[in-house]
Symmetry: C2
DNA sequence: TTGAAAGCGCTAACAG
DNA sequence: CTGTTAGCGCTTTCAA
């Protein structure tokens, strides 16, 4: 065990290779000009010592740690988990390292973001539910690029990747209408969320514009249990609806279970149901939920691109990229081709 | 727009507060002794300038960045997502910052871990499926604490947090036996995994030890689609089993759907089913899956504790902590109290 | 092409 | 209690 605990530095490599530290830096970073021979000697020495560049030191020097904040909440929710996964992967693929900040719980988001800022992050990707506007401002003050994914934060200027709310609500209406729905209901959670609330309203507007009735049901939040709650509310409301837009798959799945299991309702015979997101569970045989797919992979790629673009030019105009969506016909609506 | 783009340093604060930089450091870190008056002046100046300590510089100085690697795979799977969430939260709560490394995809794990090491991480928590032993060795060489969560990696020495495999398989057997099962089957994925394969085998052993028949069904992997596959395999096998241990909830849910939806099987009347993990979806009304809960929160806390203990004393003996488990009786088994 | 030297921002040990 | 000083490990001009 003659192993030294101390990690080798570029100085050690230099000594072993009989060159100066700066030569080591040049050889390994490939930045400056180095003779082939020197390069090889350095490489060998580095190899031998198990040397690795200290990114902290490098970051300290050129003000860029390569770290990126990835701020998310409700990470145990299928869609969010997917979002974080693809974002992390994309970041990693582009040479960044994502620092994961999970917002929920007792820890306060501003405090956590603060910590992030202490690391000189190259940027931040935020999918959290409620990022206080102040922190966005603080980031701007520090010239840290922030990309908001499906967040509103009206009034704050930042690059965004988001769903087309108008198109979403409208597509939902069209799908249910095409499937034969004529009396509608929509789930609009009390606890508001930019995209969810948005598409619920657009959907309702579409119904009204078509001169068709629409009942608004308001569960507390937007998860599975809230879907169950919504099923009760729906029943209590005595609504005559024959088609319901559930605004998130989790809501839809809860609603579906509440209706089927507790109320013995037949889907889609008695009632057609449409979700939103296309989480994996929507495709499970027992659920077979018709829904609208939100392309998480594309969203992640867009977010990272926007971030990089702003890193390169901090003063460029703010941009909004749109996440692609697509209808997914499954068993909770009547066949599209046989309405 | 008189804003300077340059971030303020401790030097700027010192200047404004009319003290030396070291005083600033002391005042803000609370480490050394500072007079009340100085502290206040520094605080005010720091506030005014929007100063924040540069952790990179600090880390460079005391060889500890406060960064921790969180290595995970299959992040879009409910249990894993939960695991990552609680681990990240615990890390954050303890003052660390988790760097999220997602293992799957084309990016090779060793390369990513390498990058992690460049950041002088204080430690690593690994829940990934297949962390090559070499990287663990590399970490040890660099004196970076590694905690393995539910990973085997026999031969490598590291702290671990893991399920009691023996107890798990046995509990599964006891539950199904208590519920009235007498002819068993168990799902043991071809693609082996330490804990999953382990409990499958222990379960089978328990059956045999009790002199009761047990059929082993081997789907490819351990996710929902594999559960569906297992249902087909099960039917083809012509097994007479009346109780099946599914080894993961995802498998169980797929198996359940395959049986119910495709084969019109009645659960639990025709067949009892037991899962493992207690993911959120197991509790959904439409599934109502009996299972064994694995306490992810406790596991995360244990993992972080182990990591901290090793940070404090790198030479302490390796430790293995056990994740608590508990039976969860739901509707896919007959009532425990009425077998 | 290579070496020398100046920092990046912070902290801790040491004087005063 | 406060200022001075010496690095932490790396990169990058600037000369040679």
């Amino acid at each position: 065990m003659t192993e030294k605990k101390k990690k080798p530095t570029s100085f050690d490599v230099a000594k072993l290779a009989n060159v100066h530290r700066s030569a080591v830096s040049r050889a390994l970073s490939g930045k400056g000009r180095v003779s082939e021979e020197t390069r090889e000697r350095v490489m060998k020495a580095a190899q031998e010592l198990g040397y690795r560049v200290n990114y902290l030191a490098r970051g300290l020097h050129d003000q860029n740690s390569g770290l990126v904040g990835l701020v998310a909440s409700r990470l145990d929710t299928p869609y969010r988990a997917l979002q974080v996964k693809v974002a992390a992967r994309e970041l990693l693929a582009q040479g960044y390292c994502p620092i994961l900040i999970v917002a929920e719980g007792d820890m306060t988001l501003p405090g956590l973001i603060d910590r992030l800022l202490n690391y000189n992050v190259a940027g931040m990707i935020v999918t959290s539910d409620s990022p206080p506007a102040e922190i966005i401002d603080e980031c701007k003050r520090l010239a840290v690029p922030v990309v908001l994914v499906n967040r509103d934060l009206r009034g704050t200027e930042a690059d965004r990747v988001q769903l087309d709310i108008q198109a979403s609500g409208q597509l939902a209406f069209e799908m249910l209408y095409e499937a034969g729905g004529r009396r509608f209901a929509v789930l609009e959670p009390k606890e508001q969320t930019y995209t969810v609330t948005g598409r619920a309203r657009v959907f309702a507007d579409c119904c009204r514009a078509a001169g068709l009735p629409v009942t608004v049901i308001s569960p507390q939040r937007q998860n599975y249990p809230d879907g169950l709650e919504a099923a009760e509310l729906f029943q209590d409301s005595g609504s005559e609806a024959d088609a319901v837009f559930c605004t998130t798959d989790l809501l839809a799945l809860g609603f579906l279970d509440g209706l089927r299991v507790r109320q013995g309702c037949r889907i889609p015979e008695d009632l057609q149901i449409l979700g939103y997101d296309d989480i994996e569970q929507a495709g499970w045989l027992g659920n077979d939920l018709s829904t609208i797919r939100q392309d998480a992979g594309a969203a992640a790629v867009l977010a990272v691109e926007l971030m990089q673009a702003r890193i390169e030019d901090i003063d460029r105009p703010f941009e909004v990229a749109t996440i692609p969506i697509a209808p997914v016909w499954r068993g909770t609506t009547r066949k599209k081709d046989a309405p």
